[in-house]
């Protein structure tokens, strides 16, 4: 179990695009994962307000969901996204770090089902929520 957690962390941190966004895996294990995305001016989607683009939120949510699947006790190894839906509840506050939290709530031999949220400092209302299905792949 510990090995798989270490492996998942190394795997996430070896992803070139995760490095480009400065993603950090802060928590992982038992089908749950947490990843942070620090505020970065390159990721601005609306130059008038400085709000981060929804695409960057998609990336942190997708990465976090994948990490949650890989950390599930019944997952033999890798995973790939089959489908991901994102609901954007509100604009992220400029300057704040975004934290994604994903839970793999059900897994079969072939498919993993995941839900996730993305928060900034205001933890009462998520910036976005996601729900998706992922492949379950052997080692």
């Amino acid at each position: 179990m510990v090995d798989k957690t270490v492996l998942a962390r190394q795997f996430i941190e070896a992803i070139p695009h995760a490095r480009a966004l400065n993603l950090t895996l802060t928590q992982i294990g038992e089908g749950e994962a947490e990843i942070t995305l620090p505020y970065n001016k390159d990721l601005i989607g609306d130059p008038r307000t400085g709000v981060i683009h929804g695409g960057a939120i998609s990336t942190i949510l997708d990465t976090c969901c994948g990490a949650a699947v890989m950390s599930h006790p019944s997952a033999p190894g890798g995973t790939a996204t089959i489908d991901l839906r994102i609901d954007y509840m509100r604009a992220a506050t400029p300057g704040q770090t975004i934290t994604a939290h994903a839970v793999c709530h059900h897994i079969t031999r072939n498919v993993a089902f995941v839900r996730a949220t993305a928060m900034d400092n205001d933890t009462d209302l998520p910036v976005a929520t996601a729900s998706g299905s992922f492949t379950v792949e052997g080692k």
Binding site: I15, P16, H17, G55, S58, T59, L61, G66
Partner: protein
Amino acid sequence: MPRPRPEPMQVVKQRRDAALRALVDGVPYIRFLNISFDRRGDELTGVLNFDDKLIGNPFLPAIHGGVTAAFLEVTAVITLSWEHMFPSIESGEIDADAIVSDESIRFPKTIDFTVDYLRSGLPRDAYARAFISRSGRRYASVRVEAWQDNHAKLFAQASGHFLMPQPPRDKS
């Protein structure tokens, strides 16, 4: 009444290209992913110019699923904004400078976005085109498809809903 003479081609091209450039180049995240747009008349094709930093799986290697989602969403928003503004760009009501500086020009906001991953994104350029299924006064529904070598073999498709910019009077 005689038909007015059509505008010289260069005038039309210059006006449309400047407006499109203003729409796209003003967004830092679009530059970060290095997405550009090809224009043929009013029809746009998004181009995701490949770079190693877009990789999500270094072992395959494959483009990051989040990048694919972002590319499709950017193509949807730009196409929607473009079609929404096109009549005002053509009439001269909106010019390229106004798109950058005029605070009253707002852009559609994503309400939800769903991506189907059909194949892994290969480490090379990708293309996307958005189709506006419906664009109402408040909401728009958009479908997007993305491909690489062969347009008939999509590697991802998406559909999403957007909140259209409201005229300043309407406080809803």
